[in-house]
């Protein structure tokens, strides 16, 4: 069974269709990167997969379950979602925020047990925020806060991870570390779908790339091919040049 299966997915928000007729599959161990111009419907597609917005037509299956019909707790076991914007109404400590990721696995009062603390420690280490554990969330820099909420999503322990611009606001070293970590999760058998504008990282770490333009899945395939395709040039209004550094590492820049 594929981790994520989309069939003829169309999502309407307010006026018209924001996502149109997307049919695609994400399998275990796959890191899919979604690229596309602003307002193309990337975030809405991700939210539809997470069961946060209902499709107008078509279907979403996450490990065989419809995320709109199954209980949120059940879905949270299988799928974690990192939104693009994250506003915290009350300033919790970093460790508490990461531990919120354990909600679906806890009962009763939900005081952190040994399992929860181990999961939180692991997630914080993976996102390089362990040293911030007792800091208040509202005192963090933008990039630090971003890494903390990635840690929250990781801490959920789900097999499908949907991340919306995980590296926005991160310095190059941390951005690369986050993508390497996502790739490592996939190598361990999870599935990751990442929306990003970071084309170099998408090129280097993604197994597959989806180009979303005007709500449609305009191109898909190996990242280097999609970035070089005519559809990508049309969508962005400029060509993307894919090359290799002397070290052999690939890069992508607007030509």
């Amino acid at each position: 069974m594929p981790h994520v299966q989309l069939h003829d997915l169309t999502v309407a928000l307010g006026g018209g269709d924001v996502v149109s007729e997307v049919t695609a599959t994400v399998r275990a161990g796959e890191l899919v990167v979604i690229v596309g111009p602003n307002g193309a419907g990337k975030t809405t597609l991700l939210r539809a997969i997470a069961g946060l917005v209902a499709p107008r037509t078509g279907s979403v299956r996450v490990l065989g379950r419809d995320p709109l019909r199954a209980s949120r707790r059940l879905i949270a076991h299988e799928l974690a979602y990192l939104p693009q914007h994250y506003e915290l109404a009350y300033p919790f400590a970093v460790e508490e925020i990461v531990l919120l990721g354990r909600y679906a696995r806890q009962r009763g009062l939900g005081l952190a047990g040994a399992d929860d603390l181990a999961a939180a420690r692991e997630a914080m280490a993976a996102c390089d925020v362990a040293h911030l554990a007792t800091r208040r969330f509202d005192e963090l820099s933008g990039g630090e806060a971003r890494r903390v909420i990635i840690a929250q999503a990781l801490c959920q322990g789900a097999r499908c991870l949907l991340v919306d611009e995980p590296t926005a606001g991160l310095d190059p070293a941390h951005a690369r570390a986050i993508f390497a970590m996502l790739r490592a999760r996939c190598d361990a058998g999870d599935a990751v779908i990442a929306v990003t504008h970071d084309l170099d990282l998408a090129l280097r770490h993604g197994h597959a790339m989806w180009l979303i333009a005007g709500g449609r899945l305009a191109a898909r395939g190996a990242p280097a091919e999609v970035l070089g395709a005519a559809a990508t040039r049309d969508a962005f209004g400029l060509a993307i040049h894919v090359g290799a550094l002397p070290s052999g590492a690939a890069f992508a820049v607007p030509a």
């Binding site: 939210r47 997470a50 069961g51 946060l52 209980s71 949120r72 707790r73 879905i75 949270a76 076991h77 799928l79 974690a80 979602y81 939104p83 994250y86 506003e87 915290l88 109404a89 009350y90 300033p91 919790f92 400590a93 970093v94 460790e95 508490e96 925020i97 531990l99 919120l100 990721g101 909600y103 679906a104 806890q106 009062l109 939900g110 005081l111 952190a112 007792t134 800091r135 208040r136 509202d138 959920q156």
Partner: protein
């Protein structure tokens, strides 16, 4: 981000939960035990503030009789304070708005209007406290629903529009109330005014008995939602993807908060700002974890109202001031401080 939180930046442990709540309970118990013993005594030498001794516990003495006039009042203050503190704290978490509380959301005015209508149209005469209480309950729930609908912009509940909607409803309800009062006869009017003062004067053991069950049940429901309220601090979408049944949580907490506020208002009339100030003060000291501060706000609200009511009985000798006025006078300055603090952080005009 909302202001005034400087509490410990550590995760909640069972030990911290038990120690903190035991301390809160102890403070509440001490205040509740002392309050009925304190009062103004008038004798040939004039008036003086006096604390009754153990003699007051002996049946037959004058002190004993006085004590038993004050005890229902103290019990009423405990119940109402706990209800308002708990409901205020839960509403602030649910609406992600530090200014949310029964008064600013217009719930108090809605409940008052309904109660005044009940007095005017004889519901109270016909059904006693149940008529008044039922009406206050319906008024509280109805207003909360209307304000919620009015303030919603798409999926967001911005603090500014929420407070605006609350104020609009509040003003509407108070005006409607005035219209009803101006057409009421003297007996009704007297009853309404006394009730609207938020006076604890009229609290009897019977009314406390009626309100105890719904308030206790409501408080228990709120206690069960601490974890969900924590997750909702990150917004409904994040909470949903963490596994929270957001719709069910919102409905349950809204309904429960209306029940609590309606029941509380039915007992004493509108008591302002307990639901705002107490959770804020506790958040500042104990941190934002709702598993801790929701129960703490219940104890805190109970304590503050018992103290305010004792002040109401004793500050001006031979005059019992309305308790609601005392809490409002003490509560408004901190409310303004929060507003100014928020404005400085430009959060008030941002998205909820």
């Amino acid at each position: 981000m909302s202001g005034f939180v400087t509490g410990a930046a550590r995760r909640l442990t069972l030990r911290q939960l038990i120690v903190t709540l035991a301390a809160c309970a102890a403070i509440t118990l001490v205040c509740a035990a002392l309050a009925p013993l304190i009062g103004i005594v008038v004798d040939r030498g004039g008036w003086r503030l006096a604390v009754m001794g153990p003699a007051a516990l002996r049946p037959g003495s004058l002190d004993h009789d006085i004590l038993w006039v004050r005890v229902p009042r103290m019990l009423g203050a405990l119940l109402v304070g706990a209800a308002l503190g708990g409901a205020g704290c839960a509403l602030q978490a649910l609406l992600r708005n530090p200014l949310a509380e029964p008064f600013t959301l217009g719930i108090s005015s809605g409940a008052s209007l309904a109660a005044v209508l009940a007095i005017r149209f004889g519901l109270e005469r016909a059904f006693g406290f149940a008529g008044l209480g039922g009406a206050a309950l319906v008024g509280a729930a109805g207003t909360l629903l209307v304000v919620w609908r009015l303030a919603r912009i798409g999926k967001h509940l911005p603090p500014a529009t929420l407070v605006l909607a609350g104020i609009a409803m509040s003003t509407f309800c108070s005006s409607a109330q005035m219209l009803i009062q101006s057409t009421s006869d003297f007996v009704e009017l007297n009853h309404m005014v006394q009730w609207m003062f938020g006076s604890m004067e009229t609290v009897r053991l019977v009314t406390v008995g009626y309100a105890a069950l719904p308030i206790a049940a409501g408080l228990l429901v709120l206690l069960a939602y601490g974890r969900e309220l924590n997750a909702l601090a990150a917004g409904p979408e994040v909470a949903a993807s963490l596994g929270v049944a957001v719709g069910r949580t919102q409905t349950a907490v809204f309904a429960t908060a209306s029940l609590l506020v309606g029941a509380a208002i039915a007992v004493t009339g509108p008591i302002g700002f307990i639901g705002l100030i107490v959770p804020h003060a506790l958040r500042a000291v104990l941190g934002p974890d709702h598993r801790l501060i929701v129960p703490a706000a219940m104890f805190g609200g109970a304590t503050v109202l018992v103290v305010c009511d004792t002040l109401a009985r004793t500050v001006v000798p031979l005059h019992h001031l309305p308790t609601g006025a005392i809490t409002a006078v003490l509560g408004v300055p901190p409310f303004l401080a929060i507003l100014v603090h928020q404005k400085r952080r430009a959060a008030l005009w941002g998205r909820g």
